[in-house]
């Protein structure tokens, strides 16, 4: 299993705790970095603000991105990630409550790798996180980092 961290961008503490629990239940032991809004997420990814001086060679194995976030929204984060040379191949999974066609279309057209809807049922949610972990942490090969 790839050992790079997972970046979880989630503002709801309940969802954060449940996601972390689901990851733990599925024996995913990667470090999980939590950003509570779009600004924090971008700071971590580009080594700015609170994360100034971070080693940018270590990029997350996968970003679990909520769409409805304070300050900078999920779609805007996705847009900036794809625009930047350093992060444009980053695996970004949109993980959100919304099933609106509009959000799905926007996410994919901005370059989301996949779009997963958070189910109300916790069992289904755990199953979804397990599948996500399996694919993005175990099976998926990330492109080599460009220097």
């Amino acid at each position: 299993m790839k050992s790079n961290p997972i970046l979880l961008v989630e503002d709801n503490p309940d969802d954060e705790a449940l996601t972390l629990r689901a990851l733990k239940k599925n024996h995913i032991v990667n470090e999980v970095v939590v950003a509570h809004d779009g600004v924090e997420a971008l700071d971590y990814l580009f080594g700015t603000g609170a994360h100034a001086g971070r080693n940018l060679a270590e990029m997350p194995q996968v970003v679990l991105l909520d769409l409805n976030l304070p300050r900078i929204g999920g779609l805007e984060v996705l847009k900036r990630v794809r625009e930047d040379e350093r992060t444009k191949f980053l695996a970004v999974v949109v993980l959100t409550s919304s099933k609106e066609d509009e959000d799905l279309l926007k996410s994919y057209s901005l370059g989301a790798n996949s779009y997963v809807r958070k189910p109300v049922d916790f069992a289904q949610f755990t199953e979804a996180v397990k599948t996500l972990g399996l694919f993005w942490l175990l099976l998926n090969e990330t492109p080599p980092l460009r220097r």
């Binding site: 709801n12 309940d14 969802d15 449940l18 629990r21 239940k25 769409l67 409805n68 959100t96 409550s97 919304s98 099933k99 609106e100 066609d101 958070k118 189910p119 109300v120 049922d121 916790f122 069992a123 949610f125």
Partner: protein, 494 residues
């Protein structure tokens, strides 16, 4: 003052009438002059025609009468010459209008003088008188006769030059009258033509301008009013059209404003839906997640009742999640784009049935889908409609060991009514109107699961097509849902 077309036409007619009256008066005057000349000729010249020879003849006969009486020595015959003289004077009197009164008087005097002299001479000769005195008397008589002849000639002479001049004057007057008539007629006609051309040109210009303006209004361009400012009926029409355009423009602006408000409220609705989708589900997920976490982490410490409660929390949150999703799908049907096209309902129905069979492969359901059922409508919405109706039929026949479902169209109706019929649980017709209300259910969750928005969704889809939907059924005998899909493209609910 307003010069309407009516007034203009009346003016034209008036001018023409005045011109004709003028022609009439002038030509009448000239004709009267010509007539007067003719009357003059009739009075002055015609009675004189043949008058002179007749008077001379009578004068000669008078002379012969005297001679005959002398020759016969007959005094009675001498008296008879008086009658001859009276005849001569009567003839002169008959032509008195044509003769100069002075000449006529002179002629009378000359004839009287001659007759007196001739009578005297005749009597003296009959009495046998001879000699110098008689011869002198005879000479005087002969001189008087010659004088009378001269005066006859002067009195009765026909002045041909004067007569011809009068004729010429008459003919000239008539000719002038004709020329006047001709010229005034021609110029009057020309004037009328020019006037008519002017009026019709103005008319054509106004009508064209009016037509162009109305065409612009028709295209929804109300910026410029119609520039017909004439004071006639067309000008009035243009003012009415401009007023109409102004009113339409106000309505158009009002409509735009309302449309803007509608769009704004639609946006709000979308934002609301989004918030429902996102924000309401998150806490629900929390409740569900932590009740599960309790079971997983503290399961052994909880008794059976606690487990039952937690299971109920789990079920209730899942149900609420389904209801939220159903509500959102109902909202989506209203907001979705609408595009009318030709849709093969038979094919869609077959695909839906295939999916239903795949969902419950162990069921025995005889589904008949009539072939070639074509409709005009929005394909994704019609698919959602058939998914709901056929899904319902599938669900409510689940208690039957061998169920029957049919999809078809009743072409005898106008507009054609499409239908989905099943022999499932059916419903009580008393509740037929409640069927289509959101979250209204006629069966318990235990009997048949569902959210109660399926038929509400179906009804909205039908209404967006401008059609209508109705249901027939009986408890335990199945149900039939009829729907039509015609109406205007806007799909506004009737």
């Amino acid at each position: 003052m307003r010069a309407s077309f009516r007034a203009k036409l009346l003016g034209l007619v008036g001018i023409m009438a005045a011109a004709f009256v003028a022609i009439l008066v002038m030509s009448n005057a000239l004709s009267a002059r010509a007539e007067r000349q003719l009357v003059f000729i009739q009075q002055r010249f015609v009675p004189k025609i043949g008058l002179e020879p007749e008077l001379q003849g009578r004068l000669e006969r008078l002379g012969r009468g005297f001679q005959d009486a002398v020759a016969a020595h007959d005094l009675d015959a001498l008296d008879a010459t008086r009658a001859e003289k009276d005849g001569l004077l009567a003839r002169l009197d008959a032509a008195r209008e044509a003769t100069d009164p002075a000449d006529a008087a002179a002629l009378r005097a000359a004839i009287d003088d001659y007759c007196n002299k001739a009578d005297g001479v005749s009597r003296r000769m009959i009495a046998g008188e001879t000699g110098e005195p008689v011869l002198d008397a005879i000479t005087a008589m002969q001189a008087s006769q010659a004088w009378a002849g001269i005066v006859v000639k002067r009195t009765a002479a026909l002045d041909r030059d004067a007569m011809q001049a009068a004729f010429a004057t008459s003919v000239e007057a008539e000719a002038t009258a004709r020329v006047y008539r001709t010229w005034v007629s021609v110029s009057c006609l020309g004037l009328a033509i020019l006037f008519a051309l002017g009026v019709s040109r103005g008319l054509v210009r106004s009508v064209r301008s009016l037509g162009d303006g109305l065409a612009r209004f028709g295209r929804g361009d109300f910026e410029e009013p119609i520039g017909v400012s004439s004071r006639d009926e067309l000008g009035e029409l243009a003012r009415h059209a401009n007023a109409m355009a102004a009113s339409l423009r106000r309505h158009d602006e009002e409509r735009r404003r309302i449309q803007g408000e509608l769009e704004a409220s639609n946006k709000e609705l979308e934002a609301f839906s989004y918030s429902v989708a996102h924000d309401l589900r998150a806490p629900l997920r929390g409740i569900n997640g932590y009740s599960r976490a309790l079971v997983e982490d503290y399961g052994p410490k909880l008794d059976g009742e606690a487990h039952d409660y937690l299971a109920r929390i789990d079920a209730a949150t899942q149900r609420m999640g389904e209801l939220i999703d159903a509500l959102l799908s109902l909202a989506r049907v209203t907001r979705a784009d609408f595009r009318r096209e030709t849709v093969n309902l038979s094919r869609i129905a077959e695909l839906v049935v295939k999916q239903l069979r795949a969902g419950s492969p162990d069921r025995t359901v005889d589904v008949v889908v009539d072939e070639g059922v074509i409709a005009q409508g929005d394909a994704p919405l019609l698919r959602a409609l058939l998914e709901n109706l056929l899904g319902n039929a599938w669900k409510f026949t689940s208690a039957r060991p061998a169920a029957h479902i049919r999809f078809g169209v009743d072409r005898a109706r106008d507009p054609p009514a499409y239908f989905v019929r099943d022999d499932g649980a059916g419903f009580d017709m008393a509740y037929a109107t409640k069927l289509f209300a959101p979250f209204q259910r006629l069966h318990s969750q235990k009997e048949f699961a569902g959210t109660g928005v399926g038929l509400a969704t179906v009804q909205r889809i039908v209404h967006r097509h401008g059609g209508r939907i109705w249901a027939e059924g009986a408890v335990g005998e199945g149900a039939t849902f009829h729907f039509t899909l015609t109406g205007d493209d806007q799909g506004a609910p009737p």
